[in-house]
């Protein structure tokens, strides 16, 4: 059965259809939550919360074709909620943009995913949600803004500031590990 049919059945309370739908999206939901929350246990909580909200809210979903986007929007909101709750335990790192580093131009600075991992962890959950939805789920920014219920300009400013912070932080890491630089070499 196609996804629309499964959504229809799930909306009418068919648990098996709901399970099939979620199995198809489970890996991506879990990955999205881990990227936004930086904590596998919290990610599990977020996915659980997402599934509860999805199951309870399915009767209100009018357009089955939007199910995937809707689910991603639910997981993003669940992550932001959980992220806010644990924010007081996070050590904030203030990032100062670097404007005059001529050798830091381009994607060659990104050594590996571990660097990205560390840098991503320093962003606020709200900002990470925009970055992850845009770059990982490949959603256009207007769609991200709609999913998070924020103006497009706010989504853009969050993305802009996040990318600036990430570029700067990656550059700092690169400088700090100068002798072992060029882990990735020029890319793109």
């Amino acid at each position: 059965m196609d996804q629309d049919g499964l959504v229809e059945r799930a909306r009418r309370g068919d648990r098996q259809a709901f399970a099939e739908l979620v199995r198809a999206s489970g890996a991506r939901l879990d990955a999205t939550a881990r990227l936004i929350l930086r904590d596998p246990d919290l990610a599990q909580d977020a996915v659980q919360e997402t599934l509860i909200r999805a199951w309870r809210g399915l009767p209100g979903l009018r357009d089955p074709a939007t199910f995937d986007h809707w689910l991603h929007s639910l997981v993003a909101h669940a992550c932001i909620d959980l992220g806010r709750k644990r924010r007081r335990r996070v050590i904030e790192v203030e990032l100062t943009p670097i404007h005059d580093a001529p050798t830091l131009d381009g994607a060659g600075l990104i050594a590996d995913r571990d660097q990205l991992d560390r840098v991503l962890a320093r962003l606020e959950p709200e900002a990470r949600a925009v970055v992850v939805l845009h770059f990982y789920l490949d959603l256009p920014l207007p769609r991200v803004a709609d999913m998070l219920g924020i103006p497009i300009g706010t989504a853009k400013s969050r993305l802009h500031r996040s990318l600036g912070a990430m570029r700067s932080a990656l550059a700092i890491e690169e400088v700090a590990s100068a002798p072992r630089a060029a882990l990735g070499g020029p890319v793109g």
Binding site: E8, L148, G149, M166
Partner: protein, 411 residues
């Protein structure tokens, strides 16, 4: 970092996210599904509250009989005073454009690095209009060109913003929405520029809110049930020929199908334009009045304001962004300018495949309909200017200046 460097950075970032995510079906998924689906599904949601809380008071519909005689005398005095003033300074007053239809091209407002700038022409030099330590973005001119609205970040991380309105020259800035109403979106000006309307989440629900521009005036939350999902929300729109009427996508009953309605601000009544109860697979998108105020575009279709003559536009595909020219005769569909009635010349804009210019959507019409600006949502892409009559496209030097807003002036 150069724009090219930024593009490379963002391309690589997308790939690294895939690596970092390492998407695999988690072990806990089956148990999580079981726990979730063992709960009862929510049968419906309700809208128990109607008015904004906190520091906004509701505007009540007046019910006390008005003193017509005294008001008449007062009005007469006001008219005489206004006439005297008009005679005295009339020659110095600036003519205003009609709020809809073609108009003259004024300045173009842009946002860059948290300030609002203006340029005299596409790609022209930027002059600061609203500058300072605050983070301002998303400028929008009123249809008569006299007011400028923009969003201002209110916390140090700029996660939340309020709506500000200034005169078109950047003076007399006032905060229109309160700090307590964070994240309002999809704002639009009333034709006369005296109020703004948008969507905000209030008590967890999406509501249409109407704010007079005058400081201290009361705001109103309209008694309209909007779709719960942000993705299904369409910007409410004032009717060009009657700003008392508002076009809105709403749900009349909880969990019911969304429909296209016109809400009367005076009576609070809803008039049905389109209801699509026949299928759950339909969603309303790209909803807007046409400039004549007699027709409505939605999801690649056009319908008369009384709900008759609903028909598909061959050139459009569903929710595709399709800005309409100010004279209401042409639309931009993808990278092609087409007559709205399908008859006549189609103009291909010279970008995209077969050219070395990457298309930038959506496009914005100049008030006089002679120019199109293509503005990219991705900050590192290039802004374009196009001639809608010839299709000629040129890249602009603007970088990351947000969505341009073109001021309408009298011709």
């Amino acid at each position: 970092m150069t724009t090219q460097g930024q593009r490379r950075f963002e391309r690589v970032l997308a790939g690294l996210f895939d690596e970092l995510a390492d998407a695999r079906t988690p072990d806990y998924l089956e148990a999580a599904i079981e726990r979730a689906s063992s709960r009862p599904q929510r049968p419906a949601w309700t809208y128990p509250k109607r008015w904004l809380p906190m520091d906004i008071s509701a505007r009540a519909v007046p019910t006390v009989p008005l003193p017509w005689r005294q008001l008449g005398v007062l009005m007469l005095i006001i008219i005489l005073l206004a006439a005297t003033i008009a005679v005295y300074v009339g020659s110095q007053l600036r003519r205003l454009p009609e709020p809809f239809g073609p108009a003259g091209n004024g300045v173009i407002a842009l946002a860059k690095d948290g300030d609002i700038f203006v340029a005299d022409r596409p790609g022209g030099g930027l002059r600061p209009l609203v500058a300072g330590p605050e983070f301002d973005q998303e400028p929008m001119f009123s249809p008569d060109g006299t007011k400028l609205a923009f969003m201002r970040g209110i916390d140090d991380r700029l996660s939340e913003s309020v709506l500000m309105v200034a005169d078109a020259d950047g003076t007399n800035i006032v905060q229109v929405t309160p700090d307590s109403l964070k994240g309002g979106w999809k704002w639009s000006f009333a034709p006369g520029g005296r109020s703004v309307m948008g969507v905000a989440r209030i008590d967890g629900e999406n509501r249409v809110v109407l704010f007079p521009v005058d400081p201290g005036a009361a705001a109103t939350v309209l008694d309209i049930r909007l779709p719960a999902s942000g993705m299904a929300i369409e910007a409410p729109g004032f009717r060009p020929t009657n700003p008392q009427e508002i076009l809105v996508v709403a749900q009349l009953v909880p969990d019911g199908p969304p429909g296209l309605y016109v809400y009367d601000l005076g009576t609070g009544g809803l008039r049905t334009i389109v209801e699509r109860a026949d299928t759950d697979h339909f969603s309303f998108g790209n909803v807007a009045w046409l400039p004549d105020g007699e027709h409505i575009m939605y999801s690649g279709r056009i319908v008369a304001a009384d709900g008759s003559g609903d028909q598909a536009l061959d050139a459009l595909e569903g929710d595709q962004q399709s800005p309409v020219s100010n004279d209401g005769t042409r639309i931009v569909a993808g990278s092609m300018v087409v007559p709205i009635d399908g008859e006549g010349k189609h103009v291909d804009l010279a970008c995209g495949s077969g050219t070395n210019i990457e298309c930038a959507e959506p496009w914005i019409w100049s008030p006089d309909d002679s120019i199109l600006i293509g503005h990219p949502y991705v900050e590192t892409s290039t802004y374009l200017v196009a001639d809608p009559d010839t299709g000629e496209v040129t890249e602009l030097d603007w970088v990351d200046v947000g969505t341009p807003a073109w001021q309408r002036v009298a011709r």
